[in-house]
Each structure stands twice: as structure tokens, then as C-alpha cells.
Symmetry: D2
Subunit: 359 residues, 4 copies
């Protein structure tokens, strides 16, 4: 089912943006992993609005753990966490009730759920649901770090007119520090100005991120339906706004020759390594031991402050309306921890499948 | 498990490129669907090598149906099909045994399977396994066409230096005819020359396809982990060589404004439609009723005819070797029916989940 | 994973008996079903201790719905419910910490979870977790009743020396009224006295229930791994204490001839019916339209008030100890609503698989 | 889906009794396991009709392995095996076409599959499909024996008027030798005479088996939905004719006291063991390290040689008919290897889930 990810682990995210709470149940995590709740909160804070310029909404996402952690360690039973909804101004949405917001899920959800979906905010379709994904991902990351010396980071490769090169080997080594940046790129000021301008124009803007994970050994993943690419993309495309996912050279592959794109092996201190990493650390769906590198394209926020013309389903006629309330001009920044969380879940799940529930 | 796709339906693909047979079991297809086996063979033929310039290997992929079809109709029980392997020249691979082919799965598979994977050709990692996917996809397509008036097609948007624009609304309507083309694009001669040149240089080349499916109603799919994007990408990334998947505007979204990217609704003969379709027929993971449009990036074939230097695992030293045998200079052309098959499976599965095993 | 049931629907139960809360997430229920929360509470009350003589512990199981229900109807999104734990006397368990309680999960859980499972009470292994199952089952029942005119009931066929015959056709019709009985059988006084005596002797007692569900049409379920028997037994054996499940004649089949056990068809007012129902309404794993009838064997409560000798894992020596606290002398009575809930889930899930997410 | 078992491993069984072949795909078995195909054939032979008095039909079940085994070892990829159907006399079934055989799946399958199921013999519902289960179980058993010193065996505890006691500790040790017996019980001659008599009377008879597995360590399995009981019962109830499953004392629990039924721990040569094993080696759904013991009730064969009256669906009237062809008077004997195969699959799957794909 759509809000349950069923693999070696099971993750269910639940809630509606204006209901009592959102949350998650993560099942299948090995027992005995030390979980630092402050680290979960750090990640939730990276996702929360208001952290930078990107939104005015101030949410305090306080996670209450209901099960699965005892004396600071995972028990092996389902870990449940809930975040109460506060400060949700439902009235912002009332004026547009019945009006199918352009590029939102309103209309297809109406068809699918026969009009019974919770219409307040985005209901269950809200980006707020990704808070559960972030909490689960932080737990997975803490478990992974118990086994491996990880480095995780993301940077902006494109955002409107701004662009920068894919990561080089040197950049990869420094990737972890990008997690401390609100605008993870080489020139945050330019990007901040760009987003600020977009906001002033009551518009929004899309972008593209590149994420790297260093420290994962060779041999995780599978061919075909459980390839690391398949697992990662399933989770990444579950994040609202994501419209493209690519690995390694990604888009560049379309113009490359095999003689340039191949990654030959060599021996580095007795270890088998590849001289280049065009394939982003994955071959045949399985990790090669090199950095896992992928790109994620995020569309411009659908909610913009401008007036738009769309269909009012109750009147069955077109109406011009303006979506009131607070809008993120660029959800890409808040998506960074969600994308990283998805990656942690996909990789930890692959790891556990190979090594078992209790390693 | 990696070679079983488990959703509403279950699909298992099995076999090794030099073993007795490859094949598939597709379970969960509704009973009573008329299956025309010649249509399955048509699709298999599109995937087979030797259909155009793209390879010299001549396989006759003859599918034997072992179960699930009785008197020309699906019974509701698992449909099993096998294709015997013939004409497989294992000796081509012996000279490179132990030598880790660059950008193949050899090395990660060695780590994962502890050296027990079938090493002949690509073993279970071979692109030949996608024949099972094509057969299953053709069955899914025939079932879908029982319910909807479909149109399906793909074209090349990039292939080395060649590029053409994403499909316009008019192109989409003509998409079906691209299925009859060996090189589905506006200028097949140029592309043929390009590939021929690459082959002469013993190299290979990557590319990017765009695929469209017209005729799917609004309301199929789900938010989050079962979004149409998640389902499709899981299957697309299971195809060897696929390194990027995007939807609608895809990569373009990274430079777009919300005011340009949004798809407002209007009324067209009493029906709710979107004026534009930047989102590729999917919002909130659910179909909107517009054409489903996605792009797939395929890397250059890993097997090239040039000499390459890589590690021989038995000697634990670097060796220069040449991969003998027949190579596709551009697997993109053979990938077209595989990509379309994956799309048919993903969409039919979503359809059945919503309407049930017997509609 | 073990606490997630993954079928057409997904159900996760979570919590520990002495943690903050227990609860459940039920995903995949069709949208628009009217949910009466008082009916959920009625079922929870049937499961709660203290409802009859069977335990002294007084829990008030108050369910808080966190998601998936809006304006009294299911939305189609995950339904989450939590029940806070109160009145849990952890100290009762401290004196036996490290002592492997006979016939509890203590020892195998210690091996499996490497000592990290929550040891308070039964932790995640507690029968208290079945509260989530009951809540989910009540929702499934309300959905089923939206489609069918159901009748559901259970009676005691054996409890120590007490026994009564399997249900006749006439009994079946009256089955629903057994749900109002604390001790659902022909002679509640005798059974009450028997249990009372067992309690005075600080002992416990096992039993066997028979459950019937009337009103389910023919054609639900599947052959093999998704047979109605397979689905039901998977859920029934997930209930702590259940050690036997049988269908229709159940145990009697072992002594029967085919000529006696077969259920021939006849025409009853133009409808195909069976003259007898030895098979309990299921053939080939699929419902026949007759009453679904099954038996459940429940072992005596493992926690008894007598002193027992078992191994203390910390000292690695045998110790005689007495388990303090409140014990149910016969968990069978509290198991009735849990068993009925499991049946409702299994059948509703089979129904939805055949008719789809939105019928 | 019903003919795919989806757990840590995936098993799909396919085929129809009068189609080209039956078979199975088993996916998720660890790489490198030595597979002796003669051992698979031994198990298939135990299941085949004609091995004893129990049927006249002579099938030669020759398994052809199509994938997943290379040079005598599992590769880690899906193992596919097919058995061609020969000697299937479809004409035996023609005379009863449209006549709903009592206690067969004909009628519910008609409703479910809308008349499109293969009607020859039992079609996909045939007991012949269990050949695939036996082959898969033999592979699982060989893998398990690679890790543990197993002993597996079954005996008849009831068959019509014949009955014998559940296994004692001493019997358990000798359990393995029961596998060599066509009629595994203390008095095979009596049982043979009984079955012979039933056959002469053109009738059939049910029975009950007890199966034991020794050598499985403590700690496998899970609470709730993946309990060893839940896993085993799901697979056991997928075997046509199985109508009851119980563990340890099974039915006896209904009359027992906790003080008798509890299994206290003691120290045996430094190891934690239970003095008794009333619980059949499973507590809280997890193995205790003691023998896994369960009972299976099998109903009398539905196909009997007597005339019976049932509904002819084409005429919509009752007709007396006789099912021609060869009937097993007691399928219990042929069910023994199927039951043992199901147990091997369930346990090996639980083992792999805990230890991972490559141990």
C-alpha cells in the first residue's frame, strides 16, 4: 500500500497536515542500536519550514517516540514516532475549497478517493508527511553509522539560472560539511538572492540536487527490481515534488561514449577500486564500494502567491483564485534532509537484507 | 527479492544468458483476457538483437507458454513463459574469465554472491533477462487495451550529438507509429550513421528516450511509495543500463518557475483537463487523465570492442584485455520495448489494485 | 516483518506493555466507510481485562485516532490509533527479571533480540498488543458490514472438562447473540465456576473456541498461499496463546470418510448451495457462500500464581520463583474479540483484493 | 498473490494438471549451496502417485532445472524447475464437465474466475501443483542441512479408526527413519488394510499427521504475523486437503492446566533447555531450540468412486454422476513430503531473515 514501504524493513508514514498528528512506524531495525533522539531532531529541524528564508511558517516538530526504543537502544520491535500538528491555519484553505489547485494532487485525489480524502491543506498528500520519513531515515542512518564510517552530503547543481558542476572526487570528501549549510552550494548568497527575488514575485522555482554517500562497501543491493537504483528511486519519487532521479553521470550518459563512461578497475593498496566513478557507485544494481552519487530534480512549488485560473469542482466552472497562506518559494532546500533520509533507508535496508536482522 | 517484482501482481524473471532458458512468471492478471501470442512475439522481436544494425547476434526468441492461458484467454492463474537459449557462444567469454569487465556487474556480483554466480556471459545479470519483462509487459498491455483505448510510443531525444525536442501534443497523438520504427526519431538516417560510426570505432554510445502513454484515465496510482513515478522508476531502473528517469518536463523543471510549470485545469466538453501537461500526467503520484510522459537515460553499452585495462581477480593484477564477441554499440534501441513493457506492467498493476482482481 | 501484516491491506501493530502506548496503523481501507468509534470501543472493551471474572487488572483502553478518518469516514489514507498505557505496575515484574518464565517468550526473545527487547511485562510480546488488532478488526468489520449482511459469533467448544458440540445450522443463525455474552457457551455458570476454581488454585486453563461468520458471498480467497485458511491461520496464530486452528469439521476430518465429509451442491431458490457444510465454507481456499466456520485452540495462560522452577539467566542457575501480579486464569475469554477481529481483517482483505481499492 | 509466497524468499508455483507443465521458481536462496538433484527426485517420488497402494496413476515426475544452479551449486539467482505433464487423461474429466464436484474447488473457482479457469482435472487447483512445493522444499532442506544437523520425520496419529499417540522424546529421535516408510506409523499393515478396504468401497478417508523437526536452534521466527506458527500454517493450509494445523500438544491444550502445560527451563550441560516440550519448540512465535512439533489434519479425498448428486451448472439442475478415473483413497500418504517441504521452506526462510542472504 502506498504509505507503507515494504521491503526488508517496513515503514509506514501516516497523518494529515491538519489532523491531530503525523508520524511513522519503522519496523525491522536490528536490536541494540543506540539512538540519539537529538540527532533525529536535528534532521527534523533541517526539514522544518522557517529554517532559512524559504518559508514563514514556524512549526516545532517535536517527535514523541511511542515504541521500539528502550533505554536509548532499539529493541528490534517497531519504532513508532508521532509529531503533533500545531499552528495549522485551516482557514487559509477554506477560500479555495473545491477549487482544483494547479499541479496539486487535488483533482486526481478527488477521483481516486471519491471525495473522501481530508481536504484541509494537502491532507495526507501534504509535504508535512515527509517528517516521518526524515525521522525514520535518521534512525536508519544511526544504525548504518554503527557499521560503517559514513559521509553524507548534498549540494545544489541547478536552481533556476544558477548552476554548478557535479561533484569531483575532492568535493565528495567534503560532502559532509554541506549538511551544516542552509543553502548547500558554492555560492549561497547568489542562490539566496535568487530565491528571495522569486518570493517577491510570488512565484516559485525548481532545482536539482546531487547527493553523495561515502563509506558503503561493495556488494549491497541486487540485480533488477531490487537494484540500488530501483530502491532509491522508489523512495525518492515518493517525496512530493521530485520529478527526476539519475545516478552517477546521470543525464550526461546520453551524450557519452562507452570508452569515456566505463569505470575500469585498478588495485589501490591491495583493494579493488575503480579509477573513475561515472556509474555513481552502482553496477548491476549492486554497490561497487565507490561513492554512491545521485541527482534529484525537484519541480517548482505548486502553491504560488499569484492568481491562477482553474476549475471549481462544485460549480464546474473556471475561477481565478489566489492560494492564501505561506508558501515556500523553493521546496528544494527543505527536501535535502528528506532525500538524504530516503537514501539512508534504502541503503540500510539493502544492508540488512544481506546480513540479516541480527548481524 | 530482486528478480521478483511484488506489487498487486507478482512478476518473477529467471534464467541465465548461457543456461537452458530464460523466462518469467506473471501472477495476478485478471481472468478472461484474450491473449494473442503473436503480439507477444512482436514485442520480443523488437527487443531481439539483429533487428537493425545494432548487433550481429541472431537470437530466435521463441516463447513457450507453460501455464495460465487456456483456449487463448488468461485463466487468473500464474502465466509462465520460457525462452530456450540457443546460439550462445560461451567460449567468447572464457578468455576474460576472472577479468573484471569495466562497468559490468562482475565485481559487485562477485562480492555479493561469493563467486557462485553463473559467470557465462552476464549470467543472471544479462540483458537477455529482459525478454521475460517484455513478454510480461505484452500481456499487461493486452489486458490494459481490453479496458482502455491506448496509444503507446517512444522516441529518441538524445543520442550522442543527436538531439530532438520533447514531444508536443501533436507528436503525442502520433506516438503509436513510432513503435513500427527501428530507430524511432525524426531523423533515423542520421542516427543510423552515428551508431554505425560508433560501431566502426569499436565504441558504444548512450542516449535518452521519451515515452508516452495516452488513454489512461485519472485516478490511478497512489501518494508516496506507490506513486506512479515510484512504481515506474522501480521497474525502469531494473533494466540494465538505465541510469536516469524523469517525468513530464523532467530535467527542465530545475530551471522553471512555478508560474510556468503549473498545469491549470479547464473544462473541455464537460471534462476536467489540464491546459498544459508539464507534470507528465501524474500529480501526487496519481494519474490526471493526461498523457503519461517520461524520459529514460541509458548509458553506453559497457561491452566495447576496444582493449581496456582492468583487474584480473585470480592474479590480483591489472591486465589489458579485449572483450570478444558481438557488442551492441547502442543498447538504447533494444531497450525501447523493454521500457514500454515496464510501463505497461506498472500501469496495469495500478489499475488492478484500484479495480480489483476481477473487475 | 513480524508486526506488520502485509497483504492487500497493511496492518502494523506496535508498542510495549509498559511503554508509552500501544496501537496500530491500518492501511488500504477503502475511502468513504462510516466508522463508528463507539463500536471500536465496544470491541476493545470485550478484550479488556476485568470485564468478567477473568482478571483483576482494570485497564481503560481509550483509543485516540490520529489519522485516516475525517468527518466520521475513512479517507483512504492510513488509519492510526493509539492507546496510552496506564496502570501498568512494572514493579510486579522486577522480582523475576532475568528469570526465564516458563512458556513465555522470555528465552527465545533473549536469543533473538540479543537482550535488547523491552523486558517490562511481556514488552512487545504482551497480549496487550492485540488491542491494536481488535481496533483494526472493528474497522474492517464496519467496512464489511457496509457491503454484506454479516453475522459473527463464537462459542466455547472445550474448556478443561467442559465441552459442547460444534455449531449446528440453527446455532449458526443465533451466533451473533453470543457476542453479548461474557462467557459465550450453553452453560456459562458451569464454565464460570470452573474458571473460578482454577483461579483459586493459582492455576490456568486452556480451551477451544468455534467461530462462525455468515453472510460472506462465494468467490473470495485464492488457491494455495492466499487461501482463506492460510490468511486466517496466519492472523490467528499471531495471537499469543493460539496453538491450533482448524476449519469446518476440523479435527473430525481425521476419522471421516469422503462419502460423509463431502458437501454436495443443490439448488435452493435458484441459488447454488451445499446441503452440508463440513468444509466450513471454504473449498480450494475460496469461499463457497456458506458459513465460514473455524476452531481455535488456546493454551492455558503461561503466567500462573504457583511457584515454578526455571533458569535465571544472570546467575545461570535454576531458581524457584512466583510470578506476582494479576493473572488471567483463562485468556480464552479475552481472546474471543481478538479472534473475531482477525477473521474480519482476513476476509475484508480478501474482499478488497478481488473488488479493488474503490469498489 | 495466491500462488506466490512472498516472505524473505519468494516461491511461485505454477501450472495446471493437464497443461504443458507444472513447476516452481524459488528466489532468495543463498549462493553456494550444494544441491543434489537426486535428493529432490527422492522427495518428488515420495509425493508421486503409485508409490504405494494409494493410487493407480503412474506419473514420472522428472524435474528439469532451468536456472539458478550452476556446477551443482545455487548461484543466488532464482531457481526454476519444471515438470512436464504426461499421461494425463483429460477424457476422464469430460463426462463431468459443468458438474460441480462435491467438496472440490469447481464452484468457488467458477465464481472467482468467471468461468475462465482451466477446467481439466483440477486445473491450477490440482494437488499436482504441490510437486513444485516439494522441489522447493527439498532445496530449502539441503540449504538448512548445510547449517544444521537436522532430523525430520512424520507419522500418522489418526487415520479413520486407527490412532497412535503423539511422539515421545524417544520417538522423536527416531523420526528420520519414518521418511523411508510408505506408511509411516507403528502398524503399517493395519493402516494398509484399512485404506485398501476404503478403496474397495470406492470411498476415501481422512487422517492426521504429526511432524517433527529436530536440530533447529533457538531464536528463529518472530512475534505476531511472522510467528513460526503463522509462517508454517500459511504454507500448510496452502496444501489442498489440509483442514487443521496445531503445534506441540495441539488439541490437548484445550483440556490442560497451565501447571501441566508449562515448559520450565533447566540447565543441561550448560545449555538452557526445557524439561518438557508441550509448546512444540515455539514460544512467542520464536524457536526455543527444542524439537518443532506440529500436527496436520487432512480431509478425505474429495474425489470418490461412488455416485454423487450435485449441480450441473450448464443445466442448472441436480444430476447424479460418478467421477471416473484414478482416485487416491487417502491423500494423507502423498501429503507427507509436501508437509515436510512446507516446513523446510518456512524454517529456512526464517533462518535467512535473521542471518541474511549471505551468511
Amino acid at each position: 500500500m502506498s504509505s507503507t514501504w515494504h521491503s526488508f524493513m517496513d515503514l509506514t508514514i501516516f497523518g494529515e497536515s491538519h489532523g491531530p498528528a503525523v508520524g511513522m512506524v519503522l519496523h525491522g531495525i536490528e536490536p541494540g542500536i543506540v539512538i540519539d533522539e537529538t540527532k533525529i531532531h536535528e534532521q527534523l529541524k533541517r526539514r522544518a519550514p522557517g529554517k532559512s528564508l524559504t518559508s514563514e511558517r514556524q512549526e516545532e516538530d517535536e517527535l514523541e517516540i511511542l515504541s521500539g526504543i528502550y533505554q536509548g537502544r532499539t529493541t528490534g520491535s517497531p519504532v513508532t514516532g508521532i509529531i503533533r500538528n500545531k499552528n495549522a491555519r485551516s482557514e487559509d484553505y477554506e477560500s479555495i475549497s473545491g477549487w482544483m489547485r494547479p499541479s496539486h494532487a487535488d483533482y486526481p485525489a478527488l477521483v481516486k478517493y471519491h471525495g473522501f480524502a481530508d481536504p484541509r491543506g494537502g491532507g495526507h498528500f501534504s509535504g508535512r508527511l515527509t517528517a516521518g520519513l526524515v525521522a525514520a531515515g535518521s534512525i536508519a542512518e544511526q544504525a548504518l553509522r554503527n557499521h560503517f564510517d559514513l559521509s553524507v552530503g548534498s549540494h545544489i547543481v541547478k536552481l533556476g539560472s544558477y548552476s554548478e558542476a557535479n561533484w569531483s572526487a575532492e568535493d565528495l570528501i567534503k560532502s559532509e560539511k554541506y549538511r551544516q549549510m542552509n543553502i548547500p552550494c558554492a555560492d549561497p548568497d547568489t542562490v539566496r538572492d535568487l530565491i528571495e527575488k522569486v518570493r517577491e514575485e510570488k512565484d516559485s522555482i525548481g532545482g536539482k540536487l546531487e547527493t553523495a554517500i561515502l563509506g558503503i562497501p561493495a556488494g549491497l543491493g541486487d540485480p533488477f527490481f531490487d537494484s540500488i537504483e530501483s530502491r532509491l528511486s522508489q523512495l525518492l519519487f515518493s517525496i512530493p515534488g521530485v520529478k527526476g532521479v539519475s545516478f552517477g553521470e546521470g543525464e550526461n550518459f546520453a551524450g557519452m561514449r562507452g570508452s569515456d563512461a566505463n569505470d575500469p578497475y585498478f588495485l589501490s593498496q591491495g583493494q579493488i577500486r575503480t579509477r573513475t566513478n561515472h556509474n555513481g557507485g552502482i553496477l548491476g544494481g549492486i554497490t561497487t564500494g565507490e561513492a554512491i552519487v545521485f541527482q534529484t530534480v525537484i519541480k517548482p512549488t505548486s502553491s504560488i502567491g499569484m492568481a491562477q485560473t482553474s476549475v471549481d469542482i462544485r460549480l464546474m466552472e473556471e475561477k481565478e483564485k489566489t492560494i492564501e497562506g505561506r508558501h515556500d518559494p523553493c521546496i528544494l532546500l527543505r527536501a535535502v534532509p528528506v532525500i538524504e533520509a530516503a537514501a539512508m533507508l534504502a541503503i540500510y535496508d539493502a544492508y540488512q537484507k544481506d546480513t540479516g536482522f541480527h548481524d
